[in-house]
């Protein structure tokens, strides 16, 4: 760098003999080509921090996944033992299944609602108003920390104290007085029952995220040029045709984006189930997600960080495979 600068000075020194006009041109040109060097200086902080806090940890996790490691001391090389242990552990597969179950219900509700709302707000016949207000209200649950949401619903869905049960119970008593054939409500332990706990978590997750998905889908609908709709109206297309032939194909990329980001996020689900159902609860094994499984080995009482690292990599490979599959599935449909 220093050598080049000297050259530049020499160059300008020589120029003094030549007329002023050429001198100016040369100086400008040398400046224009040398400024690119600043690119290195500008990206250095990012690159350094990125290497230390992002790339190194990912590689370190990879290395640890082949070792036995308690969190301190020297890791002991194990080869593929951890991976074999993960893949043959029933509890891993149960946790993995739980994650899919919760995510599956959640995504159907979340995308289903978001999609329905997009249809409603983009309908050419009804022209529903108040988008900005509804959008804000639907998004509200998403801005609250998952920890607070988890504790709130833990309290609301409690068997004996929870307001949810109280409201149903009071209503059933009233109905029972007038219509005796309606039975009195028996308190359900929503978060303590294997058959309901995962459902509640999935519904709460959908409650938190449907507004976000709706905003994404709606933004892409609003990005569609209005002449498309006008042209369709002139051609006499009905609203379902407009939706199916114009809106749907054009929002497909965003739909894919929402589905993949939701998959990546959903398969790492931790805060909600971890806080809503505590260990010792009857339903615990039915809502333990893969991330909770990883956490219990990596950061629990008896730390097995090597094993937890192998769990992380197996989960990553599975998520990666599904993201790719999802991508191709969507693209194939588009070809038709």
């Amino acid at each position: 760098m220093a050598a080049k600068k000297k050259e530049e000075i020499n160059l300008t020194d020589n120029m003094q003999v030549v007329n002023e006009d050429t001198e100016k041109k040369v100086r400008i040109r040398s400046k224009l080509t040398s400024y690119n060097r600043w690119g290195y200086a500008f990206v250095v902080p990012f690159v350094v921090v990125f290497c230390v806090f992002s790339i190194y940890p990912v590689l370190r996790t990879l290395y640890l996944s082949f070792t036995q490691y308690k969190g301190f001391g020297t890791p002991k090389w194990l080869g593929l033992d951890n991976y074999i242990r993960v893949l043959t552990d029933k509890i891993f597969w149960q946790s993995f299944g739980n994650t899919w179950k919760i995510w599956g219900i959640n995504i159907v509700l979340q995308l289903g609602l978001a999609f329905l709302l997009t249809i409603i707000f983009s309908d050419i016949k009804y022209k529903v108003k108040g988008l900005s207000i509804f959008r804000a209200v639907f998004y509200l649950p998403n801005i609250i920390a998952a920890t607070s949401v988890a504790l709130l619903f833990q309290a609301l869905m409690d068997k004996n104290y929870g307001s949810f049960n109280k409201i149903i119970y009071d209503a059933s008593i009233k109905l029972n007085k007038t219509f005796s054939f309606i039975p009195r409500y028996k308190m359900v332990d929503w978060l303590g029952d294997k058959n309901t706990a995962f459902l509640i978590i999935a519904i709460v997750a959908a409650w938190m995220w449907f507004g976000n998905s709706f905003i994404m889908l709606m933004a892409s609908v609003q990005g569609i040029p209005t002449d498309y709709f006008e042209a369709a109206a002139i051609d006499g297309a009905n609203r379902w045709k407009v939706f199916g032939k114009i809106t749907l194909p054009l929002i497909k990329p965003i739909l894919l984006y929402v589905a993949i980001t939701s998959l990546i996020g959903g398969l790492q689900m931790f805060d909600l189930p971890y806080l809503m159902v505590r260990p010792g609860n009857q339903a615990y094994s039915s809502i333990r997600t893969a991330m909770m499984y990883l956490y219990s080995f990596g950061f629990g009482n008896n730390r097995q960080m090597g094993y937890a690292s192998a769990v992380a990599y197996i989960l990553f490979l599975i998520i990666f495979a599904f993201s790719v599959a999802q991508f191709f599935l969507f693209n194939r449909k588009e070809d038709k």
Partner: protein, 276 residues
Amino acid sequence: MGKKVGRFFLYLFLIFLAVICVIPFAMMIVNATRSGAQIMSGFTLIPGTSAKENWDLVFDYFNLFIGMRNSLIVAIPATILTAYFSAITAYALAIYKFHGRNIIFYVIVIFMMIPGQLSLIGFYNLCFKLGMINTYWPLIIPAIASPGTVFFLRQYVLSILSPSLLEAARIDGASEVRIFHRIVLPIMAPGIATMSIGAFIGNWNSYLVPLLILTSPPEKFTLPVMIASLNSSQDIAANQGAKYMAVAISIVPIIIAFCFFSRYIISSITAGSVKE
């Protein structure tokens, strides 16, 4: 006629959905003012009289305002670092032609798709070796490298900044550092602000990483970690009113902020996604 009826039901559905979004928070606020016994006896929308007792019970256990302060100590510097360094990195990647810039860009795109769990153990292990456990550094410094923000701002720079402006500044003799700070940064401001909102919310709500890094003392906990650890308090578990109060203290400020800034917050969601 049919159109009117249809529209009526559509609005009814939308209002129903809006109520579902809001009602848990309303129930939370009402229950926060009622005693455990009142909550046990049934639900009403009429506030109770035990707000003070619930408040005292929560603060006997934890000072939640310290949690808020800690969250701010983490979230504000982290957001500023993300904003500034993402902007300068994005600008360099978009404008300068230097060796390795494509590699950096591809690595950024790859890391956007990599789930955080993959680095979690290695990250914790690194912080442990660096002696950073129970400090705020691991929650603040990594904010300098935020691939998603750089990716977005790079597209933003390419779409908004005209190269002739930079050339004019160079001919006038402005240094590259000066050009970035005086010309580019103000032009990028709207995009940076949008991304900063998302970064701040993410930092403020973050739970898993602070949970791992901050183990003791509780005075160091960020708000989500503090709120979550209320679960283990017997006193608070026994009095549901106090639990609602604690959750309400963590939520109400956010709801108030959302009422004022919802427009900007919502635009920040769509900005981060893929756009043509």
